[in-house]
């Protein structure tokens, strides 16, 4: 037998189109069966209680990155968070920080995508491509393993204290994406592209307080990428000073 327990959900309601209304928490009481996820409850609230509630969702299996939000103070994907995992029957839901609220739990991710595009997130080649695949050893491929797992959900972007005080900062996801290409044995991006992040807006802006690692639902460690890029930049500077080659 499955028995349902009573939960109280407090969800932040806000609307960019109604700037005069201050954001407020709205309370919903629902019965929850074991195993139900926060996304499962959100869908039920929108269906059965309040059709005006807005939130994003799609894959419900933690791969599409749509449903990042703050759940009882912790940033995570609503679809992979079990309601019963908090040891309390009150669940508070808020939109991701560091971005403007469009409506309720939906934020405007334009700045996040702008930062992503800034780092030129694509494979850059100078050599002519071979007829078949560009050879890559298993070891070379494994260097980019963790960065490939990024689903661009912006959990890290919402958790980053640097973005909170400096919206010009590129942020963890964009820098992790850059490192994914820098570490790719097939990528031939000119050094000058790294200079674009050799500043406080880029790799030197990071506080290395690891909030992004804590927030990542896919076990990516964006701080590793930032440290890796710093090392690459310092190495390049040393080579330039001493005139040594790579």
């Amino acid at each position: 037998m499955i028995t349902a327990s009573a939960y109280t959900f407090k969800i932040l309601r806000a609307d960019r189109k109604k700037p005069d209304d201050t954001p407020r928490f709205q309370t919903y009481r629902v019965k929850v069966i074991p195993g139900l996820t926060v996304l499962g409850v959100l869908n039920r609230i929108r269906d059965e209680i309040d059709g005006t509630l807005s939130f994003r969702s799609s894959c419900r299996s933690a791969v599409c990155g749509s449903c990042a939000m703050v759940i009882n103070g912790r940033i995570d994907l609503a679809c992979r968070t079990q309601v019963a995992s908090f040891g309390t029957n009150t669940i508070i839901l808020e939109p991701l920080p560091n971005m403007e609220i469009v409506k309720d739990l939906v934020v405007d991710m334009t700045p996040f995508w702008k930062m992503y595009e800034t780092v030129k997130p694509w494979l850059i080649r100078k050599s002519t491509d071979p007829e078949k695949e560009i050879a890559q050893s298993e070891e070379e491929r494994s260097r980019i393993d963790q960065f490939i797992n990024c689903i661009l959900c912006a959990c890290c972007y919402g958790a980053c204290p640097v973005i909170a005080r400096d919206p010009e900062y590129l942020g963890p996801a964009a820098l992790a994406k850059l490192e994914r290409f820098v570490l790719d044995s097939r990528d031939e991006r000119p050094d000058i592209l790294l200079d674009d992040v050799n500043n406080e807006r880029g790799v030197w802006g990071c506080d290395t307080v690891l909030k992004c690692i804590e927030a990542c639902p896919k076990d990516v460690r964006p701080t590793d990428s930032i440290v890796g890029l710093r090392k690459a930049l310092v190495g390049k500077k040393v080579r330039r000073l001493f005139g040594t080659k790579k």
């Binding site: 799609s58 933690a62 791969v63 995508w113 695949e133 560009i134 298993e138």
Partner: protein, 569 residues
Amino acid sequence: MMTVSHDVVIVGGGLAGLRAAVGLCRKYDVALLSKVHPIRSHSIAAQGGINAALANNPDSRDDTWEKHTFDTVKGSDYLADQDAVEIMCREAPGIVYEMEHWGCPFSRFPDGSIAQRPFGGAGYPRTCYSTDLTGHVLLNTLYERAVMMGVTVYPEWYVTALATDDGVCHGVVAFDLMNGQIVPIAAKATIFATGGYGRVYFYSTNALINTGSGIGIAYKAGVPLKDMEFVQFHPTGLIGTNILMTEACRGEGGYLVNNKGERFMEKYAPKAMELAPRDIVSRSIQTEINEDRYFEHPLGKYIKLDLTHLGEKKILAKLPGIRKICLDFIGIDPILEPIPIMPCQHYSMGGIDTNARTATEVQGFFAAGECACVSVHGGNRLGGNSLLETIVFGKIAAGAIDEYLSSGAAVPKEKIVIRRAGDLEARIAALVSGGTEKTFVLHGELAKTMSANVGIFRQRTETEKALEEIGRIKERYRNVGISSPSRHMNYELMNAIELEYMLDVAHTIALGAFLREESRGAHFRTDFPKRDDEKWLKHTIARMADGTNPDISFRDVSITRYKPMERVY
């Protein structure tokens, strides 16, 4: 009303749509509309791989595209159009190399070549992969390419209607979710890459966005649909959530086990075992469940997918995503315990009727990917062929549209698009002042009737029941209301609009299943358990006739080299 115009409008930001956009954006003014940000598209969830006869695997040195073609045709139960399958399989190696050159991080063999694994129904290990995240890496790669090339994207713009008139397409009516505005978009060429209809079923591996509304929108605009009764049920959906457990689990050596501890596939496919095609494995699992050789879970009856003998190292290296999903969603570590699975709806073989150049009967309207039916999958799709289809036919669509535009396409009539936008305005007004019926209630009833009556095993009385039920839900749909007139980020409104199309899509599936009195591929009729080539070696074509009922006709299958034989695995 603001109107927009482009040379080409692409609807859908998954693999097929992005590949078409990348192929067209340098030469034409292209706009890509997607109801979610493109990177959230359901292509992202594909796990196991993409088929191409690269012959990289030491066990596949003599693999060829012709052998890939044969496997695909046999897997389709001879319903696929063989000329189209030849095109797809011949293009496959080039497509995989192109994606690799664009940065796709495929897993590698020790010699540095793209790794390939065995998959169901394939004579050779030809499925190229990136661990168990192949869709994720392919979608990221194509999106990166689209960003590099500056493709114009309208993210979270939902298309509600196709503006056709007299056999010509003039564009689409779009709804900008973020701003809540209706925008008519005129275009010389329109392509739908809107994905499948999994959410018409109650048990589905599909994302919540996979309503199939694109297919329903085309159908309502007069474009015929093809082979809608062919619905793929994936053998291994996680119990409860129905999240996909990739075929690669079995490709890497996983077993299916019943409550007697038997690897029961030896009864059904003694040679191929767990790697028989999906239709056969799903029926085998369902038979084991129906004959009481199942396990019990509070969430339902299940069969075990056992990976434990593969060992920690192999699971972490080849199936890390599966392990993480199991840990996150059911608290099971597949290194230590078998995974509880059941078959559930997974893929739409049928869809918008296109030719092998992605063109439809309507001038200026094209379709590619899961929403389209070329047909390269016929009665049953092989694992690893859907990612392939999206990219191959996305690319072919770009070429076909280029030809169409450079040979003097019709000038789109803005007036017609604006008129259709007016229809949406009226529709929304009706929903706002609407009745007491709720979208989610009707959707739930539709999905339950489809899973119960048009599932893995079908029979006349059940399909009749489904048709009656769909008719009743359609009646009730006329009385649907929504709670708020506010238009921006109003998902309740979008769901209500989409349900109309879901009902039409379900109607064509159930009617096709009712009419086809044979068993072929994924369509299994217990009252007609044999394939009947004499009567039924043909495609089902469904057209919207009187605004309510589909008008059904049939079309011959294109057969080039492979005469239909009995399918034994």
